[in-house]
Amino acid sequence: MSVTVQATNRPRLARLVRLDWDPVRESHVVLAPEGVLVLNQTGATILRLCDGDRTVVEIVEELRARYDRVASDEVGEFLGRLADKRWVELDDG
């Protein structure tokens, strides 16, 4: 089962999971019942923008304002992988 992320989706973190800072690994992490995901800087920024209000397009725009190179399909793939795990919910706009 693979989830396709639409540009109009308004992603948000699922209720089961928590985005947190791990001082030991000096990384942001997603904490879930069945696992932990250690995030890089971009991943952490994306997830902090997933507030259920911004659309995927808006998230990509915000990222482009902060970083030089951001491919929109990379954001979609990242969120799709997390949606597969049900760590991210994709509310339709």
Partner: protein, 380 residues
Amino acid sequence: MDRPFGMLAELTYACPLHCPYCSNPLNLADYSNELATEEWQRVLAEARELGVLQLHLSGGEPLQRRDLVELVASARNLGFYTNLITSALGLSRRRAEELRTAGLDHVQISIQADEQSLSDRIAGTPSYERKVAAARMVKELDWPLTMNVVIHRHNIDRMGRILDLAEDLGADRIELANTQYYGWAKRNRAALLPSRTQLDRAEDVVRAARRRLDGKMEIIYVIPDYYSKFPKPCMGGWGKNQLTVTPNGNVLPCPAAHTLELPRATVREHSLAWVWEESPLFQRFRGTEWMPEPCRSCDRREVDFGGCRCQAFQLTSDAARTDPVCHLSPDHEIVAEVVRAANQETDKGEAELVPRVIPGRGTSTNHSPTGSLGSERSVP
């Protein structure tokens, strides 16, 4: 060296249930000198420093610890994701609300079947109604809920109805895990191991339910490793991601590793960091150097890590051998024989199920289970 992500804190082995597949040690009396609250708090702080992020509070029945709320609060202050693994017996509304306030992130409630008589019979005590009520309460408190169901010969044909129950209770996840044959479960193996026909039907049920409940409830299904071609990647590698602390402070690479003849490591004598990094116990099967053939030259040596050390020891008396579950193991015939037996008789079992005998704490306020392990009794 890898840092651990998860820690299983077995707070007590006291338990109101008598499941015939109990995975706790057989010699429970050895564990009655339980860690005190301050000792656990020290262990939690050390675990967080070591990199542990997920804390699984289990037992036995963790609700039998009167300091559970206090321990959850400490864990949340340290930044852990906290997960309670419980039978739900003892989860009153007041206790649940206290745990919610303390920051408990997630609750896993075990259930033995989808209906009272079978569930109670397997649990060895009237518990079904209380479990269902507790599961509803957990959802009322807006908590993420996972239902845990140990699957075996006596309930595998009811998996469809078990899934319906979990859906009705509003579970976010359900773990349908076939019994692992350690400890008490090994004694009942012949009565618990399903047939291939049962497993095939169960897979169909899971496939259909996953389609139907996609996006609504996550379904984790684990087949018995006896039927797998390759062994399970036990704990994701020895001393690699996970550790377990037993009620008396022993530290183990996996909850079954107390069965192995290896030097003990305990938080009462050493720091958790020393145990993880330096102790002979955690070094023994770390990495791939220890591996015999056929593991040593196998492409999957970093995938399944030679399988389960405890199962290798249990079935061959040598913890350093390839897990006999693997079809490439020179000892695979041991497992094949058990599987053949499970597929010969169609009507074996119920009378052979031996319920777990556990020294209960009852309603006592004492943290140390006082009784010793009683004699076995059989279900009439």
